[in-house]
């Protein structure tokens, strides 16, 4: 009898790229729902829009590059990139900004560098940074967090705002939008107000801004689940949040009137989301266990430096892109000790 031959190992593997990405998407759900609860329908509309654009751009680029479309579109990596972009932009971001940002992410940051597995930078963050730099005014138009029940916008009104730029009668953009806690902190610190004054406002919530602290808690839950399911390792989140807590704690101890507390830094902005979902992007990050610690620590420190002294209120996206650049070098210098390569340990 004749048989087909294959190379070992012969046992069917249990994982696939699709499965990995699907689990990342599951883990994003609680945080996304919390975000929609506090910022309204816009969050969900953005997610749907960004994912649609991402899939369309992915399919077009695969066709243009003469690559098989089905396996790469169904690997869900474009969905993850689109979804993360949608979480990074304000809830009423005009549709054309999402189109440009996600298009840039998939076309330039991902496919012009070779597609899945070859992009040196995280595509979602490249897309986000591109629109932050290009459209600074639109990108700061966040809504004040409020529960969905007291939300001023219904779903049709949200769609109208995003796609047509029309607000319900009697409202203007200035009336409905506001800054994020990080933005407001930066602006008011620049006006020489003390931190205790600034944070006395109910806008800043219990630790890190009303709504934001809850959203980040749910992203944290999703992230912990990813570690449990072995989709990501603990190294990057622990190193990134640890270094962020450490450096912010240090300056907070030096001058608590100017430097916000570690808790504020951890639970505001994109620290949690970035630590578990973006800096852990395997393609653009470090891959050695020690390298991941260095990479994560670098992101945490750079994010803090940008937040405390940089021109932008939030620095996570920039920090991740900067560390993406360092990843190959970090990997080179953090190779693990190979079994049997140094003198064997003595019997204990």
């Amino acid at each position: 009898m004749r048989f087909k031959t294959f190379t070992s190992p012969h046992m069917s593997p249990a994982r696939s790229v699709n499965r990995v990405m699907r689990q990342v998407l599951y883990a994003l759900v609680p945080g996304t729902v919390a975000m929609a609860w506090f910022f309204g329908w816009g969050v969900l509309v953005n997610v749907v829009l960004a994912v649609t654009v991402a899939l369309a751009a992915e399919a077009l680029m695969l066709m243009a590059r003469r690559r098989p479309v089905k396996p790469f579109v169904t690997d869900l990596s474009a969905v993850v990139a689109g979804w993360l972009f949608a979480l990074a932009v304000p809830p009423l971001t005009p549709w054309w900004i999402t189109l440009i940002g996600v298009g840039f992410a998939i076309v330039v940051a991902k496919h012009l560098y070779g597609g899945l597995g070859y992009n040196p930078f995280n595509p979602a963050m490249v897309g986000y940074v591109a629109v932050v730099i290009s459209f600074p005014r639109e990108m700061t138009l966040w809504l004040p967090p409020s529960t969905l029940a007291e939300m001023a916008f219904s779903l049709p009104q949200t769609l109208q705002a995003i796609f047509l730029g029309q607000l319900p009668a009697g409202l203007t953009w200035d009336m409905i939008t506001g800054a994020t806690p990080l933005d407001r902190l930066q602006t008011e610190l620049a006006m020489d107000r003390s931190l205790s004054d600034i944070q006395a406002s109910p806008f800043f919530g219990a630790v890190a801004g009303r709504g934001w602290e809850w959203i980040n808690l749910f992203f944290l839950l999703g992230g912990l689940w990813l570690i449990r399911r072995r989709v990501i390792t603990w190294h990057v989140p622990v190193a990134m949040l640890g270094s962020l807590a450490l450096i912010s704690g240090l300056f907070w101890l030096i001058n608590p009137e100017v430097y916000a507390s570690p808790l504020f830094h951890l639970f505001s902005g994109a620290a949690i989301l970035g630590a578990f979902f973006i800096a852990t992007d395997p393609v653009s990050g470090s891959t050695t266990p020690m390298g991941r610690l260095v990479f994560g620590a670098g992101v945490g420190i750079l994010a803090y430096v940008i937040r405390a002294w940089g021109g932008y209120a939030e620095g996570v996206a920039f920090a991740i892109l900067l560390m993406n650049m360092m990843a190959p070098t970090i990997d080179h210098y953090t190779q693990p000790r190979v079994f049997g390569k140094t003198p064997a340990r003595k019997e204990g």
Partner: protein, 544 residues
């Protein structure tokens, strides 16, 4: 068991795999009936090929040596049963290439006649001389039963500067599906222990550690019982966690002793010798019963056969014969694997024979072995790093191999890869990583061979150039001397006897020239007709 539990160490990564051992352990070891023909490949392991000492038409007896291999790393091949030699033929052999190789083919007569060829049993075991044991193991053609089939006598002969303080017995059998060691320990634990005691007497280690994975409680029990009164602190049976590849030699030594065998070294470098349980049982058979290595237990399993079981099989039996005695194939059998599912290789045909290193025949259905999807690009998830027992960076090795940057791959310790398959098993992109590493290793080996050949050619060329230059120089020197002599002579002649007979003068001049030539030759170290240095031909021969 002894009072204090044995301390265990860990190696990086590894996998907890579904073990699929229950299928083939339902019934005891079955002695397979003889096949019509036995096909014995002359090369069954690394080292020199054995040379046949029988010819077509010869009558052979069971246990008779049919091919000898007297090099240090070599093992004889014996007739597994009596019969007549059909010939030394090219026949497909168990090798991933599917190519043919020279084999001795025996037409079985069914008499199982030992003739005079059973080795005399050694009775005085207490005074068994290590050299005698080694000789017996060598004469019996014993090789390691763990899969690599390394000649066993070599491992019983540590170099003088090495002290062996630990004998590790490998009964881990970590690969899924395979149960031949398990069944051996369950049914012949006494033979394993007796073999162990023989080796212990030879090597005189301070401790003997028998490592058995904890998913084999019956084997652990049988071995403990067989050890019985012999058990003391010198011999311990240790249940090791069932984490693939705990049965890898380096991994098991690490788990049991905490020692790491150096990257390019051998277990003896850290004072350890490791033998498989099957090898020990064979040493017992060779010494006590005088039987050379002519059969072994083979697991025939997988959902592709109707009746998975273990069979004791004479070497040379075709796999199709074995499968027939394991209930035959299932309807939708898709792949035939020699060895386990992680490290075994797929066979193109079931007409190849069982050899000394065959521990398992796995017939698998599609759903057991088919990858869930197409090969995708590496997403650098690092799961392979997590599971690599050699602590390598498989994703980087893959990257360098794809880029054909083999120097870089070697910098990242490519040759420390044991090809266990853990990385490929966890790869979400279904990349056949092990295949890439095998390719890289082979490329590097062939590059090294080419380089050696090129070096030899260069040396040869340089020596030739040197010789030609020397010959030219010597010729020029001779010419100069000749000229000198000619210039001097006529002047002398003129001075001594001017106006004499020109004929006489010519003869005189010729005589003098001859003398001068003789003198010049005497001054030369090498005669001109032997100008080609003898070393040149030697170099040429050596490089061929």
């Amino acid at each position: 068991m002894t009072s204090t539990p044995h301390k265990l160490w860990r190696f990086n990564g590894g996998l907890k795999l579904p073990d699929h051992k229950a299928e083939s352990t339902q019934e005891t070891v079955f002695k397979a009936p003889l096949a019509e023909y036995l096909t014995l490949p002359l090369r069954q392991h690394i080292g020199e090929m054995a040379q046949p000492v029988v010819k077509a038409g010869d009558k052979v007896y069971k246990g008779q040596i049919i091919a000898r291999c007297d090099t240090y790393v070599g093992a004889h091949i014996h007739a597994p049963t009596s019969g007549r030699v059909r010939g030394i033929e090219e026949h497909p052999v168990p090798h991933p290439s599917g190519l043919t190789a020279p084999c001795v083919v025996i037409e079985v007569d069914g008499d199982e006649d030992w003739g005079e060829h059973r080795m005399p049993p050694i009775e005085d075991l207490q005074n068994l001389d290590p050299a005698r044991l080694r000789h017996r193991v060598r004469e019996g053609g014993l090789v390691g039963m763990g899969g690599a089939a390394f000649p066993s006598a070599v491992k019983l002969n540590p170099r003088p500067q090495q002290t062996i303080d630990t004998l590790v017995v490998n009964g881990a059998e970590c690969e899924p599906y395979i149960t031949c060691d398990d069944m051996l320990m369950r049914t012949r634990a006494d033979a394993v222990i007796q073999g162990l005691l023989l080796v212990k007497r030879t090597l005189q280690p301070r401790q003997c550690l028998i490592g058995i994975e904890d998913n084999k409680p019956e084997a652990l029990r049988a071995m403990t019982e067989a050890l019985g009164g012999e058990e003391n602190d010198n011999i311990r049976i240790v249940a090791v966690p069932s984490i693939y590849p705990a049965g890898g030699e380096r991994q098991l030594i690490r788990v049991l002793t905490g020692r790491e065998v150096p990257s390019e070294g051998l277990p003896a470098d850290v004072g350890v010798v490791c033998h498989n349980v099957g090898t020990l049982a064979n040493i017992y058979r060779a010494v006590i019963r005088g039987e050379p290595l002519i059969s072994r237990i083979v697991t025939v399993t997988g959902s592709g056969v109707q009746r998975p079981r273990n069979l004791r099989v004479p070497f040379g039996t075709p796999i199709s014969h074995l499968v027939a005695h394991a209930g035959g194939y299932s309807d939708d059998v898709e792949r035939l694997i020699m060895g386990g599912p992680m490290m075994g290789f797929a066979l193109a045909s079931d007409q190849v024979p069982i050899i000394k290193g065959t521990n398992c025949i796995l017939a698998a259905k599609g759903e057991e072995v088919d990858p869930p999807g197409p090969v995708m690009p590496c997403i650098r998830c690092g799961e392979c790093v997590r599971v690599c027992p050699a602590n390598l960076l498989p994703q980087q090795l893959y990257w360098f191999t794809r880029a054909r940057d083999f120097d870089k791959a070697q910098d990242y310790s490519l040759f420390d890869c044991i090809e266990c398959g853990c990385c490929a098993h966890v790869c979400p992109s279904n990349i056949p990583l092990v295949q890439f590493y095998r390719f890289a290793k082979n490329e590097i080996w062939s590059q090294e061979r080419e380089k050696q050949e090129a070096d030899a050619a260069r040396v040869r060329h340089e020596m030739r150039q040197e010789r030609l230059a020397r010959e030219k120089r010597e010729k020029a020197e001779r010419m100069n001397r000749k000229k000198q002599a000619l210039n001097d002579k006529p002047a002398e002649n003129k001075a001594s006897d001017t106006g004499s007979d020109p004929k006489k003068a010519a003869i005189q001049a010729a005589l003098e020239r001859a003398q001068a030539k003789k003198a010049a030759q005497g001054a030369d170290t090498t005669p001109p007709d032997q100008g080609k240095p003898p070393s040149d031909t030697r170099t040429q021969e050596k490089t061929r």
